[in-house]
Point group: C2
Chain length 345, copies 2
DNA sequence: GTGAAAGCGCTAACAA
DNA sequence: TTGTTAGCGCTTTCAC
């Protein structure tokens, strides 16, 4: 005996609609896709019958037949920042508009999980992938299967040049420069940099911007003022601790992540340091938290929603055949320094 | 001519494996499912061939054939809180362990979006649903299609009694009581309550707990000290404003959401009010933000991860036929008051 | 322990 | 404008 789950409402197929109306299943199929080749009246009748009978289309059958899933996979290195949720909102909106589903994978800054997500998406047969790389991703070979099957890849924020893929990024060098330059202009002469691993190019670029700004402001570079960590809660703590233990403390800090900056700031304040009077602080991302901490945090803002929209639009245009195949490109989005209390002394 | 996307690596099916090995496709299918009826050696050979040929199983075909998707849909009213991400982590872990996929829908506190997500999940043919209701959800009819098809439903946190569904919740009355009682014990005599719409039962219950604690501590209830809003940024602001405009300000506030509490606190501080000296504050949820604000926020903690695990385990056991069909039940999870600086004066 | 064959629900080429 | 039909890749009954 075939074990079947007790079904209360029976499943309605296009065949049921067809026989109900005395039509062929293909006519129903076409009508349900709003194919103009079918008589408008027939289309209406079919739509009504579908509604009436409680038809729900079986996407598994559709996907099996069409060999497409209308699904795009998104891999993000974190989930809780305002930036990432904005990007996801942007992608989601464009995708929904174009009739694509999205599935979200979370790497938690680990290549291993990133690769697992990529594998998962590959097996789910996504039509395209949008990704921001994890902190420690150096080898991109887990994206190879997509390349091999001509599945388009778009990177945003944390991106690396890849053959046949697009990237949507900000000018991190300029951001690093502006943040540092701002601190210098406010009178800081010992500017610390707390940032991520320089193997991740965004951090390398912010570092280069930092160096350039120091140089342009005639501030000598001091190795001991550069701290590299994961920019998480622990990273913020560590940075604060290191700074507290310095004989010559910095008078300005550029931390390339708002959350880490908030943690660090809090820690410094608990040790009696006044911000911005003793040490000015600049973060990165313009997360919601910036306006909640005391003093409010100066930071670099960049438009997450817009980046998401651009990434999705690019990918989907490609999938729908609107743009040509090999338009591997780099799209640079504007960013800006948002000055708040934490750097105004 | 059939339009086919240019395929670089051809797709491998069980037929390719079968003919490669001189076997029947059914044998391959069984072997790939690790069916013990197939000779162990044959199974090994088939696994090797699958690997070698780069086989990836087509879940769309599987789902079409088996009429199950091994997918569970999750609807959450928000995404960015620590509580929700913990729940999702808990569900995700149990689901992965049991070979289920999850898809996440976000209602942003709106019934309309909640219903849209439900519809979407229904059309995606999820095997089960886990949900926390939006702020303004009163009518649950958008879950009816699941009931009609015997698709199991589990609610967590924001739940309503429904026939044939399970709920995983905390004792909100007790939480409301404890928070209020704590403030009273610290000497507060005018305790404000900022909470969500009482049509959502969790808020009604916290309100009842508040009332009970007032009564037990011989504090008269004052209507003007109860503020109802959406507990978002705007809600926090509004509450602060209302309080600042009072002639007789409260000396304690219980805001049933940490983020709103943080916003409110900040606003009050900006107006020169000292916390906890002038006004003590208790939040709700034990979000990360509690430790970042100054002073650190007293709150109600409850175990998100565990609630997620319980919800998922329950649902999946049901789907896999481990538990009987109609065990509609209510599971109550422990919660506790976490005392920090914001209420210690 | 393995094979043959039907069919899940749909789309699209081809025919009418 | 509509109908006929093959087949997407898999599982599972039934037969051997």
């Amino acid at each position: 005996m075939l074990m079947k789950k007790e079904v209360i409402t029976p499943e309605v197929t296009i065949y049921d609609i067809a026989s109900h109306l005395g039509l062929a299943s293909s006519t129903v199929s076409r009508a349900l896709q709003n194919n103009p080749i079918i008589n408008k009246n027939t289309r209406k009748k079919i739509a009504a019958a579908a509604e009436e009978l409680g038809y729900r289309r079986n996407n598994y059958a559709v996907n099996l037949r069409t060999q497409r899933t209308r699904t795009i996979g998104i891999i993000v290195h974190e989930l809780k920042s305002h930036f990432i949720t904005s990007v996801l909102a942007g992608i989601g909106q464009v995708a929904a508009q174009s009739g694509y589903d999205i599935i979200i994978g979370y790497s938690a800054e680990s290549v291993v999980k990133e690769a697992a997500n990529a594998r998962n998406f590959f097996h789910k047969r996504v039509d395209g992938v949008i990704a921001s790389l994890a902190m420690d991703t150096a080898d991109l070979s887990h994206f190879q299967p997509f390349q091999d099957k001509n599945i388009p890849l778009v990177f945003f924020d944390r991106a690396e040049d890849q053959p046949n893929s697009t990237m949507v990024v900000i000018d991190n060098t300029r951001c690093g420069y502006e943040a540092t330059h701002h601190l210098a202009q406010r009178g800081c002469r010992r500017i610390a940099l707390v940032t991520g691993n320089r193997k991740r190019n965004v951090y390398e670029q912010r570092y280069q911007g930092y160096l350039q700004a120091l140089s342009d402001n005639d501030i000598p570079f001091r190795e001991e003022l550069v701290m590299i960590n994961d920019l998480d809660e622990k990273g913020g703590m560590q940075a604060a601790e290191t700074i507290l233990n310095m004989k010559d403390r910095p008078d300005g800090i550029f931390i390339t992540n708002d959350f880490a900056a908030a943690v660090c700031m809090r820690q410094l304040q608990d040790a009696g340091i006044r911000i911005p009077e003793d040490i000015a602080v600049v973060g990165f991302n313009d997360d919601n938290i910036c306006k909640l901490v005391n003093p409010q945090l100066t930071t670099i803002h960049y438009p997450g929603k817009e980046m998401g929209e651009i990434a999705a639009r690019n990918l989907i245009d490609h999938l729908d055949g609107v743009t040509s195949i090999s338009n591997a490109s780099r799209i640079i989005v504007r960013s800006q320094l948002v000055i708040r209390e934490s750097s105004l002394h």
